[in-house]
């Protein structure tokens, strides 16, 4: 028999808030975290806008020496994980450490380190490449270092599925608790790639918005004038816990996690499948795994990247999966406010889905000013809305055709 799993802690570092409460308050207020790039001189780049984390003080979470030995995506994960643990009121000690694990994904890993060390190689030769280059760059290091900094000695891994990394990581962590491999998992995603190579590469693909004149309105999921995604950064980590353990210690329960599904498009390097088949099967798999009827799904936290293709094909996929019910449920994309956090997106969007249930509030899709006739669902346009919600699912889709969906439900003591 599978064990029940609940969410008991949340930690977030985002372009609109360096902890969960601020993040959520700004989300429902429709505040934008987008602006001009400050991390590097983007003057000559076709896209000069991003959603950066502001005023992050890594020394709040790790010491100076460790800051020097870790890339930002790892520092963000450590910060989010420590906040989530504190929020859950869990202290890791010798008695419980082996039953507490970590599953935090990153889509890209330490690109800033790769770029700076490649410059060292070119300018000074191989003998000057830092011994920290490899351990700072590899994407699994978020999970590795979170275990070192928290003492969690249980299952430890990470999913690398591009923009689905965070959602896949939470899904895999959910199963580890369901199947008894761990009692608590710190899981989610992290990313920080506001770098010259990332902007050059994503720009060459034509994936980024070029709305440089109006950054706060550049990310406009499901709007007719959307022209690409805006890169964000940050980390979202949640504490999943077996219901048994959470109840025994009288923990605050935000929501129950009830399902996980995934699929592959088997179609194209970067484009989602036009018929929405893969994304629809991912949603159906999660709903089925959760033991829900399709009509029981109240809210979909969409992948909603603001690229012309994603938003159209995701809409098609939702209709394909849910039929008439697609027009009755609510759909929204917080990427309108925080941009696309790539591998971290699934982490902060899981937090959003959980808080939507906890507060019975739908966060809006902002910048939805010119309806696209082909995107005709209820996207909670521009203003948050109070609603009676019982279940929510969260979608993430990654380059390579990875589709992942996780499902949550209001916690009911039955």
């Amino acid at each position: 028999m599978k064990r029940r799993v609940v969410v008991t802690g949340l930690g977030a570092l985002t372009p609109i808030g360096n902890e969960v409460v601020t993040f959520w308050n700004n989300l429902i207020a429709g505040k934008s975290g987008l602006g001009y790039i400050t991390r590097f001189d983007a003057t000559d780049y076709p896209t000069r806008i991003a959603a950066e984390v502001k005023d992050f003080d890594s020394l709040q979470y790790i010491d100076k020496k460790e800051v020097r030995r870790t890339d930002l995506f790892v520092q963000y994960a450590i910060a989010a994980a420590k906040m989530a643990l504190q929020d859950a009121d869990i202290q890791i000690d010798d008695q419980n450490a082996e039953r507490i694990g970590v599953y935090i994904g990153s889509g890209i890993g330490g690109l800033p380190t790769l770029e700076s060390q490649h410059s060292v190689l070119m300018e000074k030769g191989p003998k000057r490449v830092s011994p920290f280059f490899i351990p700072m760059m590899i994407g699994n290091m978020a999970s590795g270092l979170v275990s070192i900094h928290t003492g969690a000695k249980g299952p430890n891994s990470s999913s690398v599925t591009a923009c689905a990394s965070g959602t896949n990581s939470i899904g895999e962590a959910f199963r580890l608790i369901q199947h008894g491999d761990a009692d608590v998992m710190l899981c989610g995603g992290t990313e920080s790639t506001i770098t010259p190579m990332a902007f050059a590469g994503f720009s060459s693909m034509g994936a980024l918005s070029r709305n440089n004149d109006d950054p706060e309105r550049a990310s406009r999921p499901f709007d007719k004038e959307r022209d690409g995604f805006v890169m964000g950064e940050g980390s979202g980590v949640i504490v999943l816990e077996s219901l048994e353990r959470a109840e025994a210690r009288g923990a605050r329960i935000y929501a129950e996690m009830i399902g996980y599904g995934m699929s592959a498009d088997a179609f194209h390097l970067t484009s989602p499948a036009p018929d929405g088949n893969g994304a629809a099967r991912s949603m159906l798999a999660a709903v089925s795994n959760a033991g829900l009827e399709l009509t029981e799904v109240d809210y979909i936290n969409a992948h909603g990247t603001s690229t012309p293709l994603n938003d159209l094909y995701e809409t098609i996929a939702i209709k394909r999966a849910f039929g008439d019910h697609a027009y009755k449920l609510a759909v929204s994309s917080i990427k309108s406010m925080v941009g696309h956090l790539l591998g971290a997106a699934g982490g902060i969007e899981a937090i959003t889905s959980v808080l939507a249930l906890y507060h019975q509030t739908l966060p809006p899709t902002t910048n939805l000013e010119h309806p696209d006739p082909e995107c005709d669902l209820d996207y909670v346009p521009n203003e948050m809305r109070k609603a009676s919600l019982r279940t929510a699912i969260s979608n993430s889709f990654g380059f390579g055709g990875h589709n992942a969906t996780i499902a949550f439900k209001v916690y009911e003591d039955v």
Binding site: K64, R68, K127, R128, P131, P135
Partner: protein
């Protein structure tokens, strides 16, 4: 002009995040100053840059306390 010791102290202090006063001649780089094997490699690179010299792997292996660095650097300059 700063002495060799002062320059070494400054580099080690910044690199390993320890107070200058802790970087005494007799301080063990690994044990007293808490450097791991990667820190040591990184430190050697900085020392090479600072003093404009090359420290071979054999020479690096012989360095255990701060005094070993000062002696090596002064020996190279002589």
């Amino acid at each position: 002009m700063a002495t060799t010791l002062e320059r070494v102290q400054k580099i080690i202090s910044e690199k390993l995040d320890v107070a200058i006063e802790e970087v005494t001649l007799e301080a063990s780089i690994r044990e007293d100053l808490d450097a791991d094997s990667l820190d040591v490699v990184d430190l050697i690179m900085d020392l090479e840059d600072e003093f404009g010299l090359s420290i071979s792997e054999e020479a690096a292996e012989k360095i255990t306390i701060v005094k070993d660095i000062v002696t090596f650097v002064d020996g190279q300059k002589a």
